[in-house]
Structure formats: C-alpha cells, structure tokens
Amino acid sequence: EADIYQTPRYLVIGTGKKITLECSQTMGHDKMYWYQQDPGMELHLIHYSYGVNSTEKGDLSSESTVSRIRTEHFPLTLESARPSHTSQYLCASSESVLGGPQETQYFGPGTRLLVL
C-alpha cells in the first residue's frame, strides 16, 4: 500500500458549497497530481505540482484550484460545487528522476464526490 491518503473518501454536498479535498503523502515525493475519473472511464489530469509553490493545470479544464504550500500536502478546492463536478477525484505522487520522464505514480484511494 502506498503512503498517500485522501479525505474524505465520500462526500455528498449541495450545489454552491465550497469544498476542499485533502491529499497527503509521507513518501517525500516532490511531484503530486490530481486526476478526475468518471465511472468506468479513463483518468484525466486536472492539476499537477512539481514542488512547493509550483502548480500547473492539466489537460482537462477544471474549475477547481490547488495549492502546494508543503511538500506532503496537495489540497484541491472547489469554490462553488455544481452537479457537473460529481466524479471521483484521485490524488497521486511520484518521485522526480533528474532529467528523466515520469516514473511510477502512487495513488491514493480516491474521493467520490456527489453534488446534489
């Protein structure tokens, strides 16, 4: 099991609420990622970070925002949740290899979000 944690595991919330999905890892990895995955579908990268104070948007446009103030912590925030945000959100981390490409990513268990 990877040492990467996500809370909450399940969240049911009303439209318009602000939510923060937590992700933390204890492996000291410098790279962290957020993916969005609908049931039975592929993962879409929505945010990534290559280190503290570094965040980038991924391939899939998302209304969410992220921050990376500490190496181990990479929270995702939705200022105003909508039903279209209903999905599973997966956090991952990896160790940077100097001059190299992406190596193994370690995933958290995911947060299933339902916006009513």
Binding site: A2, I4, Q6, Y35, G40, M41, E42, L43, L45, Y48, Y50, E56, G58, D59, Q88, L90, A92, G100, P101, Q102, E103, T104, Q105, Y106, F107, G108, P109, G110, R112
Partner: protein, 114 residues
C-alpha cells in the same frame, strides 16, 4: 494526444485461464506503464516497460511493447478471482508544455469467475 486505448473494454474468463489485454497509443513515448484499479479504489502500479525494451516479466505478468506498431499487451497467466479489476495502460511522453506526463487509457475491465 498520445492517449492509450485498451482493448477489449471488458473481458470475462474462468479462474486459471490466461487474460490478455492490449493497448495502442498515438505518439512516441519514453515508457509505458500498466496499472490495476479495484472497484472504487485508487490505481496500483503493476509494471513499467521502457521504449527500448520489448518484453518484461513480473510474477504472473508479462508485458510486451512494439513501438513500430505503437502497441503493448499485458498477459496475466493462471488468473485468480483476486485479479478481477480494471487494468489501465499509461504512456509517458512529452506534453505540450515540454514536461513528461502520464496519459491513461480507458481501461479493460477484467472479471475472473471462480
């Protein structure tokens, strides 16, 4: 996009049989990885094969890579009920921003019947 596409989308086999899943992609890659996802959980890394490798083994897993055809296959031998999961291939290559990223396919849903 260098998105991987798995084939078949779903596969159902008897315990003890072999399971083969295929992945095709569109652009050049540095490596290709296979991940497993149990229902409602995160992904677990299974195996990584680099672009200069053709075959790799790990326990009951065998992965092949054909860069000329831009395809890979994952073979699980002597399947067990516990192998029931979705299997994703992910390609690692340069993104438009000039950094390496993983791009995941849609996955193959494997059901192993006891």
């Amino acid at each position: 996009s260098q998105q991987g596409e798995e084939d078949p989308q779903a596969l159902s086999i008897q315990e003890g049989e072999n399971a083969t899943m295929n992945c095709s992609y569109k652009t050049s890659i540095n490596n290709l990885q296979w991940y497993r996802q149990n229902s409602g959980r995160g992904l677990v890394h299974l195996i990584l094969i680099r672009s200069n490798e053709r075959e790799k083994h790990s326990g009951r897993l065998r992965v092949t890579l054909d860069t000329s055809k831009k395809s890979s296959s994952l073979l699980i031998t002597a399947s067990r009920a516990a192998d029931t999961a979705s299997y994703f291939c992910a390609t690692a290559g340069l993104s438009g921003a000039g950094s390496y990223q993983l791009t995941f396919g849609k996955g193959t849903k494997l059901s192993v019947i006891p």
